[in-house]
Amino acid sequence: MNSILVQDETDSFRDLFTTYYPFVVRQIMRIVKEQQTAEDISQEVFLSFYHTDRSVIENIPAWLSRASVYAAYNHLRSEKRRLTRQEKEAEGKELVAPSSEDTWLEKEAIEDVRDVLAKLDERERTLLLMKYSGFAYGELAKATGTEVGSVGTLLSRAKTKFRNMYARMRGEEG
């Protein structure tokens, strides 16, 4: 009986995984450009999802979305530290291998968007990424630990900041 229950649980987790995995990968790829890296991070996200008491999660996509954004930025941060170290060791060496992404027409813009998002603070980018992934204020508030009443204000500020930084970056380049 016991083993049957365990089986059922595994199966239902498998369903969750199957349902949300592409969503998580894409959410992470909005931040991390390499798909392989994004998939690795997705695995970590699901691992912690697996070990979390899922009965207390009210909105699973929202939970996963927030976890994805956090995990992706954690990765970027440690990657940045690593790159900085390496750059110091080997100045001027090309470190970023060209990826399939080079075929994307949107490459430049996508990089700029990512760069700008990276410069926002954690709460701001979580708000932006989740909002445009279609989550409601209630979920945004929960994900960022704020009151529903202040989400509108925080959002409009985050957007203003995003636009200004983006304009500056494009301006510098162009």
Binding site: I4, V6, T10, T18, E39, I110, Y132
Partner: protein
């Protein structure tokens, strides 16, 4: 209403305000230039941000293809490792069973039309019920003493293989429906036995067929008999079928009952004819049993309607009328192999030739015989040898 702040306007734009709040705000904007300017500004910002993120970030990323299945495989390995024995014991053992059936049978019976017997046995086993113990329950016992051929493509095989070896469809499709396992309890010889000469085999009590002159035994493999069993939860299985929009339903009498296919011991003899190797395999007709009162025809149709049985196999199995006495034997179709109906000692046989090997399958004295040769011995020559067997 007093003037709204940016947060409130943002909430209004995002549809997060209540109907009455929105109404009030719209009224207010009509009279308040400041708020109208703010609204326009925030609306422009919203449009720009949404557009930028959508165009530059979301859309390109959404085009990315994600292989969820491969990811799940990787993930389930991971949780398997990190959880140790705390994790699904059932999952593990089920996988093992599935693997055993595929791997061993594949190895043992590889020469049966390139491993397709695994698919055949599986498919067939799914179509018959059995009650294990009490003999009084057993009314329907069939021996499958005819061989019928079902064309199987590589894709079909891969489908079944993918299911059996990864446990993928196994977990998914059998989820809730029931389980599939191989029961070897009560058998004396669970291991494959191997003898490197005719003498050694006979000394161990293995009865080998008489062989025509010019053929020498190189080695003998004896594979133990095994019984492939299936137990289903009718309620859940029927739900799944309904969900898959399959009209067929399982008979309620089957709930908790066991289905199985018993495959008797088989002999696989490696022969040498001069410079050439041949493989000769003999197996008894598999036996199927059914619990009392179950409509076998209906059951079979239902089982065949299950999603994990490749369509094209189903169709051909359904076209076999005398199914109760017939073991459908799939053979692999590809552009390199040809099938011809021939006669061996007066019985129908099938000769399959491909670039590198040829094989003949026939059935005689309740046994299924399979003779296969490689490269140098061509089809006609092989047929001559078979006739002498």
């Amino acid at each position: 209403m007093k003037c709204a702040d940016a947060g409130m306007i943002q909430a209004y734009l995002d549809g997060e305000c209540s109907a009455s709040e929105s109404e009030k705000f719209r009224d207010h904007v009509k009279q308040c230039d400041q708020c109208r300017l703010k609204l326009e500004e925030l609306f422009a910002l919203e449009a720009w941000t949404a557009n930028t993120l959508e165009q530059e970030l979301f859309r390109p990323v959404d085009k990315v293809r994600v292989d969820t299945e491969a990811a799940w495989q990787a993930f389930s390995r991971k949780i398997g490792q990190s959880e140790g024995h705390g994790k699904p014991v059932q999952l593990g053992s089920q996988k093992k069973v599935l693997k055993r059936s595929w791997k061993d049978m594949n190895k043992k019976t590889k020469k049966w039309v390139t491993g397709t017997s695994a698919a055949a046995v599986l498919v067939v086993s799914l179509s018959f019920p059995q009650v294990q113990a009490a003999a009084s329950d057993l009314l329907s016992i069939f021996r499958m003493d005819k061989v019928e051929f079902v064309k199987v493509t590589k894709q079909d095989l891969q489908d079944v293989e993918a299911w059996m070896s990864s446990g993928r469809a196994g977990e998914m499709e059998l989820k809730g429906i029931g389980k599939l396992w191989i029961d070897e309890a009560g058998q004396k010889d669970k291991e494959n036995r191997y003898y490197n000469s005719r003498e050694a085999a006979e000394k161990a009590g293995v009865k080998l067929p008489a062989l025509p002159k010019g053929l020498d035994v190189e080695s003998v493999d004896i594979s133990p008999s095994f019984t492939l069993q299936l137990e289903i939860n009718v309620e859940k299985a029927n739900k799944l079928l309904a969900q898959m929009q399959v009209d067929q339903q399982f008979d309620e009498k089957l709930s908790g009952k066991r289905f199985s296919l018993h495959v008797p011991e088989s002999q696989n003899i490696w022969l040498r004819s001069g410079e050439n190797s041949l493989n000769y395999m003999v197996v008894d007709a598999p036996e199927l049993k059914a619990p009392e009162g179950v409509d076998l025809e209906q059951l079979r149709n239902t089982m065949l309607a299950l999603p994990f049985i490749p369509d094209n196999v189903k169709k051909q199995m359904l076209s076999i009328k005398d199914w109760q006495h017939t073991l459908p034997m799939p053979y692999l179709t590809d552009k390199d192999s040809k099938m011809k109906e021939v006669k061996v000692n007066g019985t129908d046989a099938v000769l399959i030739s491909s670039e590198h090997n040829s094989q003949i399958i026939w059935q005689e004295d309740g046994h299924i015989h399979m003779l296969q040769a490689y490269d140098k011995i061509k089809g006609d020559e092989l047929l001559e040898i078979a006739k002498k067997m």
